[in-house]
């Protein structure tokens, strides 16, 4: 639905991409196998702690309301959460907007069926050495980083889902 949301400066997005490109940066932030830094943040439904999800496969996503690929990723993350919750997947999406209202407005039109936390100060992305928006990490049941991905494109979905399936010990093609 589009009519309730009178967005500010919607125009010219396509032309404006050149200099604030937010796609993948080629460097890796956190080493594979390193322990995922803990966090304890405010969320839409109470406190969000990484420690609380130990024992689950955590798909940790850093997003912001102003980042379009982030918007694209929400539907996919909802799908992943629904599909693999039973097998032990927990999607946690950390918002890094300076103003929470911006994040809430984004959430009102991009509903999330996974855990959403807020980190306006940016301490968590700093500790995860986030190199681009969005950035996602898979954190294993042992609390260690399995893999990291920067950016979100349509073409990334299959590979990302495959990584989730592998980490959950599900073999074979998706669906």
């Amino acid at each position: 639905m589009s009519f309730f949301d009178v967005k500010g400066r919607a125009g010219r997005g396509v032309a404006a991409i050149l200099f604030v490109a937010v796609l993948a940066a080629p460097t890796h932030a956190l080493e594979r196998g390193s322990v995922a830094p803990p966090f304890d943040l405010d969320g839409t439904k109470g406190a969000v702690k990484l420690a609380k999800h130990q024992g689950k496969l955590v798909y940790l996503d850093f997003w912001a309301s102003w980042c379009a690929p982030c918007r694209q990723s929400f539907g996919w993350m909802n799908e992943m959460q629904a599909k693999y919750a039973m097998q032990g997947l927990q999607v946690i999406a950390i918002n890094v907007d300076e103003k929470r209202d911006d994040a809430l407005r984004f959430l009102s039109s991009n509903p999330a069926s996974f855990v959403v936390a807020f980190d306006p100060a940016g301490a968590t992305p700093l500790s995860y050495r986030v190199m681009g928006m969005p950035t996602s990490l898979l954190i294993g049941t042992d609390g260690k980083v399995i893999s990291e991905h920067i950016g979100f494109k349509d073409a990334d979905k299959i590979a990302l889902e495959e990584k989730i399936r592998l980490s959950l010990g599900i073999s074979g093609a998706g669906k």
Binding site: M1, F3, V6, S109
Partner: protein, 301 residues
Amino acid sequence: MVAPVFGIGFVAMASQCQIRICATDRKAARKLAQPAIDEIRRIETSYSRYRADSVVSRINAAAGKHRVACDEETSALFGYADTLFKASDGLFDITSGVLRRAWDFRVARLPAPETLDVLCALIGWGQVQRDSLGVFLPKAGMEIDFGGFGKEYAADRAAAILADRGAQFGYVNLGGDMRFIGPRPDGRPWIIGIQDPRRKNGVIASIPVSCGSLTTSGDYERFFELDGRRYCHLLDPISGWPVRHWRSVSVVAPLAVASGSYSSIAMLKQSEGLNFLDGANMAYLAVDNRGNMFRRDLSSQ
């Protein structure tokens, strides 16, 4: 192949209700809808003023006496009521229900000014004490009720359940407060008529909606007319008198509980209503007391 759409009708919260969803057959639709209907009934019972065992009745019965513990859901609803009170400059007040004692819309009679004075003294969300242990109405005779957004809240909860159970197309309609789960199965939006506030079966506009909610507050739901003047059920908690600037205000928002609050506050704000909605960036269709229509953004889907 487009799946068929079924409408499941029922009566709840003193209104005609309907859930429209798509399913293979009517039986499957009913099965899909049942938990949502159950949820609506649960909210109705938990928050009914008329049931002595409801949390609302227990809080009201303890007014001026003691505090009543409340569960997480009730606390959350109080938190929301607090936001509405502040955002409306005190016009949306869940303690204003006491005015019902003065205004009986079944008989066309104006209340005595002294009655209103007494009742207005019992209104004031600002006086209600809330803490982690519960809620306390400091004056005997004070009352709270969630009638102002309970139906909309139920519509949102029901829609969430239906979506959770896999419904992708359809809506929940609780007496005209509508919450949409998704468009029609073919992707086209639902076309929703807005009732003419003066002609019972007339429609003043048709609005396409796929997602979110559409709610209408109007002066035609409960009212009486006396000496050519209309007295409607929406009462200003400060004066105790009915508002009269708008015949109806319809608002579109992502959640029914939000659009319902916006439309009620716009009615209560009277001549300031549209400024309030504009400032909140809400889409609306409003009809003033002379029949002029004002709309913003409602059909630009």
